[in-house]
């Protein structure tokens, strides 16, 4: 509402705020933006939610507060822990990096307490960039990462082809050891800090947090991977028949590479910058892809399917619009790289289709995305029952959700073509995959184009499954007891 004291009488501002009317009405033309709804002083610069205009200062406060509240509410990141930030260079992950930097630099009491590292994966090869463009992007990203002073790692998607098979296996989770409660951990950390300050020469920098780690990445290593590896990666992507399969493949490889980096460098947590908009789109896309059973894991705040490395999504409550405005107002540097399917028609992949559907709806009904998001928030991940590797999907590491395989209508369509070539035929992979991965797999090229770590692990699991079948009759079931033991 435009207050009379601003002298802007013609502003009707009939936005139906608070009346629960979902449909957005266009604002009246106004030369001076109305005052900020929070402080009432400065002119509003950005509209959050439905019709709330915030000025720059209040918006910044809102933005920063949301990040800290997100971390504080969920209490997953323990003080002193090493956290890897996965940066694509895009707006959301850059905003996340800026929030982490701001959070770490505050006065002691309110400071964020973890130790960040940065990782960036160059996907230029599959996005159709020339080597010169890739070099340029890499240089820009490296400059950005270097400026933060945190240890950083640059990788390229081609390196995903050389991953070890252990990437597909769930690591030993922390479930066995008794975890200190969050509160105890914080208290312990603060005490430790006090101790250090008392012991040391009184300098307040806490160990590790502000020391400038040199770039822990590759010093003067060759920037782009060898052309042969790039060619192999391109062949893998060309062999995928649909754009949907390509997108899923890209996400899978990226995820595995980040996981591997986190594991080898000793980072128990990874933060990714998925915004609310992206999470809502992913929610619906994954439903369409047959991943309904895993929605909570794919879009929740915490994703612990890998056991030893936990994925955290702290930006999931920020709308893409808020992030874009924040980056523009406060000069957050980004490096935009074209994604997989830029400049193509709308309906080429399920991901694109869902994005244009949701955004189109959002334009007229501004609570669409937050409604989808909040509905998704109500889903909670089922406790991990499947512990043995045979019960997890080969590619996405979610629990295999296929029990009564015979009932699946999918079955006949999959076991069509190739004659059983043994371990490398398509049919051998099928029992190892969950429903949606089967669908994606069906659209990928022949198994020979898949990365070797996938094939090796698949062979290994098929072998074990066969072995288990063979000795099945000799195995004791849990409910049976050997006679003679008490």
């Amino acid at each position: 509402m435009c207050e009379a004291n601003r002298g802007c009488g013609e502003c009707a501002a009939g936005l139906g705020v608070g009346l629960g009317a979902p449909r957005r009405r266009p604002a009246a033309v106004c030369r001076q933006p109305r005052p900020c709804v929070k402080c009432g002083d400065s002119a509003a610069a950005v509209v959050i939610r439905i019709g709330d205009g915030f000025c720059r200062a209040c918006f910044r406060e809102y933005f920063v507060h949301k990040f800290r509240a997100m971390l504080g509410k969920n209490r997953v990141i323990f003080p002193g822990e090493k956290v890897l930030l996965a940066l694509s260079g895009g707006p959301a992950s850059s905003a996340m990096l800026r929030q982490v930097q701001e959070g770490l630099s505050r006065e002691t009491a309110k400071r964020l307490r973890f130790v960040p590292g940065l990782v960036h994966i160059d996907e230029g090869a599959v996005c159709g960039q020339s080597p010169a463009q890739r070099e340029q992007n890499l240089a820009q990203m490296e400059a950005l990462l270097q400026e933060t002073g945190f240890p950083y790692y640059l990788a390229s998607l081609e390196q995903a082809l050389e991953l070890p098979g252990s990437v597909l296996r769930r690591g030993p989770g922390a479930a066995g050891e008794p975890c200190p409660s969050y509160k105890e951990a914080v208290e312990g950390f603060i005490q430790q800090q006090r101790q250090e300050v008392a012991d040391g020469d009184g300098d307040t920098s806490s160990a590790g947090l502000s020391t400038q780690h040199g770039p822990g990445g590759h010093p003067a290593a060759p920037r782009l991977p060898p052309a042969a590896l790039t060619a192999e990666l391109l062949r893998l992507f060309e062999a995928a028949e649909t754009l949907t399969a390509k997108e899923e493949l890209l996400q899978m490889l990226r995820g595995h590479l980040i996981l591997h980096t986190a594991r080898t460098r000793g980072y128990p947590k990874v933060m990714t910058g998925e915004s609310c908009t992206r999470v809502a789109v992913k929610l619906l896309t994954n439903l369409a892809l047959g991943r309904g059973a895993f929605l909570a894991v794919d879009t929740g705040f915490v994703d612990s399917r890998h056991g030893d490395v936990t994925l955290v999504r702290p930006m999931r409550e920020y709308m893409a619009k808020e992030i874009a405005f924040y980056n523009h107002f406060f000069g957050v540097p980004t490096v935009i790289t074209p994604p997989l399917s830029t400049k193509r028609r709308e309906k080429t992949s399920i991901h694109r289709l869902m994005e244009s559907f949701l955004l189109g709806l959002q334009a007229d009904f501004p609570s669409t995305i937050s409604t989808v998001y909040r509905t998704g928030e109500k889903l909670s991940a089922a406790p991990a029952e499947a512990s043995s590797e045979l019960q997890r999907c080969l590619l996405c590491l979610c629990a295999l959700d296929i029990d009564g395989e015979e009932e699946l209508a999918l079955e006949p369509t999959l076991v069509t073509e190739e004659t059983g070539d043994g371990a490398d035929s398509r049919a051998a992979f099928i029992p190892l995959l969950c429903y949606s991965c089967r669908l994606t797999f069906k659209e990928m090229g022949p198994p020979a184009t898949l990365p070797s770590y996938v094939r090796t692990e698949a062979r290994h699991r098929s072998c074990r499954a066969r072995m288990k079948e063979q000795i099945q009759e000799f195995l004791l079931e849990d409910d049976e007891e050997e006679p003679g033991t008490s």
């Binding site: 933006p33 509003a44 334009a363």
Partner: protein, 101 residues
């Protein structure tokens, strides 16, 4: 009779890919009978600046959902959106929050 209006039109967030990668454009809108507003500006951009794939930037007479518009560094929703009357030396910034294009 509206006088010629000179503006700075900028593109960010990937939208510049549709404009030959050029982020900042200094444009002068010719004089015409009706005053220039965002609606007319968009039509003008479509004919004069957009190099390829207009459907990736515009939808109907407005911008495609997912593209933000800032007028003088303020959200266009605060200024009247398509009906905002452009003035000389205004700055209009289009930021794409989409996945590309």
């Amino acid at each position: 009779m509206a006088a010629p209006v000179s503006l700075q039109v900028e593109f960010g967030g990937g939208a510049e890919l549709l404009f030959d990668g050029v982020k900042k454009h200094q444009v002068t809108l010719p004089s015409q009978p009706e005053p220039w507003d965002i609606r007319n500006l968009l039509k003008w951009i479509k004919t004069n600046l957009l190099k390829e794939r207009p459907e990736l930037f515009m939808q109907g007479e407005s911008v495609r959902p997912g593209i933000l518009v800032l007028i003088n560094d303020a959200d266009w929703e605060l200024m009247g959106e398509l009906d905002y009357k452009l003035q000389d030396q205004d700055n209009v910034l289009f930021i794409s929050t989409l996945h590309g294009g």
